[in-house]
Assembly symmetry: C2
Amino acid sequence: MYRSHTNGELRLENVNQEVTLSGWVQKVRDKGFMIWVDLRDRYGITQLIFDEERSSKMLMQQAKMLGREFVIQIKGNVIERTSKNPNISTGEIEILVSELTVLNESKVPPFTIEDETDGGDELRMKYRYLDIRRNPVRENLIFRSKVTMEVRNYLSNEGFIDVETPYLIKSTPEGARDFVVPSRMNEGQFYALPQSPQTFKQLLMVGGMDKYFQIVKCFRDEDLRADRQPEFTQIDCEMAFVEQEDILNAFEGLTRHLLKEIKGVEIGDFPRMTYDEAMKIYGNDKPDIRFDMKFRHLTPKSGTYGFSVFDDAELVVGINVKGCATYTRKQIDKLVDWVKRPQIGATGLIWIKFNADGTLSSSVNKFFDADALKYFAEQMKAAPGDLMLVMAGNTDKTRTQLSALRMEMAETLGLRKPDEFAPLWVVDFPLLEWDEETGRYHAMHHPFTSPKPEDISLLDSDPGKVRANAYDMVLNGNEIGGGSIRIFDKKMQSRMFDLLGFTKEEAQNQFGFLMNAFEYGAPPHGGIAFGLDRLVAIMGGQETIRDFIAFPKNNSGRDVMIDAPSNIDKMQLEELNLKLDL
Amino acid sequence: MYRSHTNGELRLENVNQEVTLSGWVQKVRDKGFMIWVDLRDRYGITQLIFDEERSSKMLMQQAKMLGREFVIQIKGNVIERTSKNPNISTGEIEILVSELTVLNESKVPPFTIEDETDGGDELRMKYRYLDIRRNPVRENLIFRSKVTMEVRNYLSNEGFIDVETPYLIKSTPEGARDFVVPSRMNEGQFYALPQSPQTFKQLLMVGGMDKYFQIVKCFRDEDLRADRQPEFTQIDCEMAFVEQEDILNAFEGLTRHLLKEIKGVEIGDFPRMTYDEAMKIYGNDKPDIRFDMKFRHLTPKSGTYGFSVFDDAELVVGINVKGCATYTRKQIDKLVDWVKRPQIGATGLIWIKFNADGTLSSSVNKFFDADALKYFAEQMKAAPGDLMLVMAGNTDKTRTQLSALRMEMAETLGLRKPDEFAPLWVVDFPLLEWDEETGRYHAMHHPFTSPKPEDISLLDSDPGKVRANAYDMVLNGNEIGGGSIRIFDKKMQSRMFDLLGFTKEEAQNQFGFLMNAFEYGAPPHGGIAFGLDRLVAIMGGQETIRDFIAFPKNNSGRDVMIDAPSNIDKMQLEELNLKLDL
């Protein structure tokens, strides 16, 4: 037996007990005649004490040999500390050690195993097993485990069945790029790793499973943007005999439960917003509504603005930044530079200050008199002390740019509070989006999403206008989940594939099994999938998913710890009937 | 809203309520003036009634059009049945339908959606979504979900953390064949899909996670034997600061909990048996101990047997089949034929009957007199009425053959009761096994298994004799879990790789990250992995794992429903820098 207690367990009431502890040496303080060792494990830290008067010479010598991260086992007596440490759970006691065994030595770690480490990202990833010893990383992983347990228990209690769907499936060139897996037994053929269990969960509904969930790995071979992973985890759900309202209620329930159980935050009914509203008011479909700063549209007092930048623009829109009229020229210039960065790509930024004394000044004083500015201020609901930031131009671009600025201002002003949670539903997404590059429509959600019945008549006349029974759950400015009511009728599914530019043959070849299934009594159904990595990161008050993944990959899709991917044996390639073609 | 209740929910107390139900048409009984429809969903069956006197003509007509597996929604009034059906939960009521909507029609299914179906295996797999509508298949999947929830909750309550390990890892030619995944971003390189998260869970222990579990998919590209799947699911666990005893206790606890919660079976302490004992007494390392029929070794009364088959044999061993002395010549011939089949490969079978009248007869009367036979009977603890079946020859082969016969006899005699559960631990497995083909040692469990400290001295002199701290949990004749205490010392790990024939370079290349990790304070650790597919099958009283997997693959590794694997686009291959080489 390596231990009688963990290092987070002993209290005053254990005083005088003989205990056995194991763990890592966090710190050694050697005063010569007295040595203190902090012994660490997942559960906490216990202070060990060795002293000349009470410990044998050999034991003192042994203790002096200890280094950081050595793994040791000790036996000893629990005694009350003279100077207590209220910061740790075992701070009232210490262990007078009578026996010390070094279970394993340690080289000096490449970075300090402390909450704030001196290790950079690369080093931490290479030695991830040491990084995980640090409290913040370990606690993130434990937090993730807690969230998934809550998810499973909640859904299970609601009658959802956890069904495992296959990982070796079929490649479908539609959507993102698949990772493929060559089959040795089926020469020249390939499996694909699932981008999501979409068709399988729909087949489970056809199969009468009624309510399905799974926490499942999904795979996408994309050029990785920051904070994307080639493998990621979804909370994947589907229900039969439901309308959109049933789904929204079911998963609003889940999210409310998680926020309450995990974060102690009580949230009432989630606000709902159409896609169109979200785009209009926040310039994007995943607005952060923890703070206001809504888009305000500026109209001229009469006729035209008399300012060509506005007059020529599709959209003139601004945000009102409360209490920032005191921004200096330098601060404002920084903002202008910020929106002009290639990542944002704006041509400029107009500012109007509603000064504390009631006067108005702006970067467009030349074009607008005090009256005109005042009229803008009214439209923007500005008050003395506020700073108005205005952009104008093409609708889509301007929305995207101002939305980015809105988030940047909120970040700067500390309005994105990590312990505040503001979920909402964005509904009525468009069914299709036009892709300039390929010159055809793409499914905005996926090809299985059903159009709103009242919009079906537009499918032929104006496909871009058709709204879908599709919805996203947004939390603190992040899409954490999305789903739709599915098509469950073969004819409609086939029509959808036509619209998306599939030939009949392609559709049959790739999704024939699903359309066939729809001929044998498919029930109405719909579902949702949550991105678990992001959900736990946001619930944990952070936005970097990598910190909530035990062994993440870097931006080139590499695991630098195990050094994967790597070359494989020639024999392996031969068995798979493959040749490298570099 | 598609339904106010499910089809398993309504009772006498709901009489007179207006309800809305949805589901599949299981059966239509049309008496002309009266039509009954069984409406089915996951939760049960509710009887619908239409009759000339109480239903409109149109409704009667609609009902007459219904076919099997149509998806319908009805509104109606709950009424008390005149002839009740005690076999179903809703058997006291029926619904007098007032409104009927066909949500989706169905072609006639290719097999009947009944508990006993007329569909063969191929057809059921091709239309798995229809197969899942059948009660036995659906109940198996729900049972699996229930088992996994119990596992997770139990382990979670015991302080285990659910950590997801990566699926895109590194190929290691050791062990079974990997499935590989070409990397597009890292030209010419490949990921591998994990055969198990073995090294990652060990690194989590190095990282101080202390107790880890995960229910995780694993992959093996093997030529599939019956009832093997290329992707399978493991309950994967690891603990730090443990000895073998700690692990056995922890997972005996889990298994006991599952048997109690899921099957209502209380099991005391699990028996333990060494590998050597198991081989000696049952001829294999996963004995079914629900029944006795132990191996009994026959020795001659004095000197030699005087029967060359026995005298020349390494092993003379038999089983005593209780109460089967009445077997006819024909029955016994069948057994002899059975052991001579190529799958078993025995050259023959000797039988000795202890007749009810106390006389003994045998197939070797020529060689043994009554006294000799009686002496054998004593050794085999046979009583009047018993049939002794004896085999002789090479130790390994004879054990395997007699073990197969023992299982066959138990099957025939109905001793393998699916509702009886007899778990046991088999411990002290050999560390290494000699592989004739490659002429070197292989790790019996895996290369990370630690030798028993007391056997380390044999590592150089007689490696085959070294026992490992490795254990299997066996349930009803199936290995359901196996694990070991791991090596946590770089030197020992390196020595093990030497023994297994790795060059230093290979070892470093493939497992360098693990050996490096061992230099930074690796704690003692060990673990276990359960085969979930098999565990649920056995707990469900069956032995075919395919019936407990939603979408299994066939023996060629194909999913015949979606038709995977399949050919992929030339462009996909090009992007991966690969060429087919058929």
